[in-house]
């Protein structure tokens, strides 16, 4: 793996990024849209930008999506 793109990607910031507080507030709405196959990133580009950049919030999103998809019938 070449680390230059990894470092460059890590340091790049997206002005649309809404930050953790807003992403956490919207996480259930966003995850449900994704689970339903709706264009969540188009509807909430700032949340999408944040989840791409923030490891902990991205991890929470993955967990919530897994919970929605895997919940017992």
């Amino acid at each position: 793996m070449n680390g230059w793109p990894a470092l460059d990607g890590f340091l790049r910031t997206d002005p649309q990024d809404v930050g953790c507080a807003r992403a956490m507030e919207m996480l259930h709405v966003y995850a449900e849209l994704v689970a339903a196959g709706e264009p969540a990133a188009e509807r909430y580009p700032g949340v999408a930008a944040h989840l791409r950049a923030c490891g902990p919030c991205g991890e929470d999103f993955d967990g919530l999506l897994a919970a929605i998809r895997g919940e017992a019938p």
């Binding site: 070449n2 449900e32 902990p56 919970a67």
Partner: protein, 216 residues
């Protein structure tokens, strides 16, 4: 950038049933709480199992963590049920609190059992953090030194502290939040500004491509 929010929606039947049940008095509410906990616990267990392979937590401790996360999520949900506005199914909203509690408890675990002593700076591990190929050391050594210089000269003391903890030492963000008595949002904002400054400095010195129209 602010985004349009969602306005309250009409509740689906299942969500409305949950809200009614949690508003009942006495035994009916207790039964609803017990049922809700039954649904939250497997979500917590599944989440700690999903994250488990990347954590140095195993066995009964992992199950304790799941149980505590489900119990604390139940408290959060009952405390905030009045804030649920129907933008999603009630259970999706409820699961969110389980996931947040699992994150918080994992952060707390690493705060109590730090892998790196506070104050240590593992700069020698920086190339590993970004997957630099050891065979190409001659190429990245200069870049790694430039990153360290920029961290020392461009960042405020707070930004430097956060960058060193998260990036150089690999401290989990939720652990640093506890250590500094801060919030995930506040630490992320410090790091966001640090990333922007560092990239600008590295681009200005020719280490990274300059994306700004007209340079600088």
């Amino acid at each position: 950038m602010p985004e349009a929010g969602v306005s309250g929606s009409e509740l689906d039947a299942e969500s409305a049933r949950w809200l009614r049940a949690l508003a009942e008095p006495g035994a009916a509410r207790e039964a609803a709480l017990a049922r809700l906990h039954e649904l939250l616990l497997p979500i917590a267990r599944r989440e700690v199992a999903r994250r488990g392979p990347r954590l140095a937590i195993t066995g009964p401790e992992l199950d304790d963590l799941a149980y505590q996360a489900a119990a604390d999520a139940l408290l959060a949900i009952t405390g905030k049920a009045g804030q649920f506005r129907g933008e999603s199914r009630f259970m999706t909203w409820a699961y969110k609190f389980v996931i947040f509690e699992v994150s918080a408890k994992i952060g707390r675990h690493f705060w109590r059992h730090p892998a790196v002593p506070l104050g240590a700076e593992q700069w020698e591990r920086l190339p590993d953090r970004f997957g630099f190929d050891p065979a190409l050391e001659a190429e990245w050594r200069d870049l790694a030194a430039a990153v360290r210089r920029a961290v020392d000269t461009e960042l405020t003391p707070r930004q430097r502290e956060v960058f060193v903890a998260l990036v150089v030492n690999g401290v989990p963000l939720d652990t640093l939040v506890l250590s500094l008595g801060s919030s995930r949002n506040a630490i992320y904002k410090v790091m966001f500004d640090a990333r922007r400054k560092l990239r600008a400095a590295l681009a200005a010195n020719g280490y990274l491509p300059d994306d700004c129209p007209g340079g600088s």
